[in-house]
């Protein structure tokens, strides 16, 4: 199956990891508001995409994967680091969705209700991020490059 749901990640998470995530999320949100107040919303807005949470989640992913492998008797240090890299690759793809989210809010919020715009932008984030991930999973960028190279080779031959 392409995507699956598993509760093993939840079972592995410790209580203090939830506290770290909650605190980081709260600090970044409050910090962005402080920066917006001090330097204006043009500057504060940058921090709505600040990746502190990604840094925390990648570190936790590394730790969980290492523990999982060590329980099976495998030396999991490098496997954990690989998993953190995969997590960051996912975030890079999700950032296309985040750009789309921000564009929709910027364009539509001034003239429409926030109760419609914000949920719609969240839906757009999912609708952009999901297909970008799927295209990457199916190796679409490589296939496209190959097709373009073939067509240009055929043209030069013809």
């Amino acid at each position: 199956m392409l995507v699956s749901v598993s509760t093993s990640g939840l079972k592995r998470a410790k209580w203090y990891e939830y506290v770290i995530r909650f605190s980081l999320g709260g600090l970044v949100t409050a910090g962005a508001a402080l920066l917006a107040k001090k330097f204006g919303p043009e500057f504060g807005g940058l921090f709505l995409a600040f990746p502190a949470i990604l840094a925390a989640s990648a570190t936790l992913v590394e730790k969980h994967e290492r523990e999982r492998k060590q329980e099976k008797g495998i030396h999991g240090r490098y496997r954990g680091r690989f998993a953190a890299g995969a997590d960051a690759a996912g975030a890079a793809m999700g950032s296309f969705g985040l750009m789309a989210f921000a564009v929709l809010v910027w364009k539509f919020l001034p003239n429409h209700s926030a109760w419609i715009v914000l949920p719609s932008a969240t839906l757009l984030w999912a609708l952009v991020s999901g297909p970008v991930w799927w295209a990457w999973k199916r190796d679409c960028p490589y296939r496209l490059k190959l097709a373009l190279l073939r067509s240009s080779a055929n043209q030069s031959r013809g």
């Binding site: 699956s4 921090f47 680091r81 998993a83 999700g94 950032s95």
Partner: protein
């Protein structure tokens, strides 16, 4: 101060919610999409709309586009470094935040001409 506490609580809740969804999903690259979820943005923009109006929130969202471009660069570099050299994650991801900051502020300076 009261406003900051409210922002802290709502931001913390939004991030925890998206992180929990991410914990439930496999494979890792798909779960990683949630590392770029609009959790902080939803909490911040919702509260800005309530407290300062839609115009201020829209201005924040415009700058957020540049922050998201910087996030793409940050996450791509982190992923490449981790997959290729396999260093410990914490120091790499933390020092990489300076890269995000430099790209975001650089883009802000160039694009918005402030």
């Amino acid at each position: 101060m009261k406003e900051l506490i409210v922002r802290f609580l709502i931001g913390g809740f939004a991030v925890s919610m998206f992180s929990t969804i991410s914990d439930l999903l496999k494979p890792k690259t798909f779960a990683g999409l949630f590392g770029a979820a609009p959790s902080v943005a939803l909490a911040s923009l919702g509260l800005t709309v309530l407290m300062q109006g839609t115009a201020t929130a829209a201005t924040e969202a415009r700058s957020m586009i540049l922050g998201a471009v910087a996030l793409f660069i940050y996450a791509s570099v982190m992923s490449r470094v981790m997959l290729r050299f396999r260093p410990p994650a914490l120091p790499v991801f933390l020092s990489g935040l300076l890269l995000w900051l430099a790209v975001a502020v650089g883009l802000w300076y160039v694009v918005l001409g402030v």
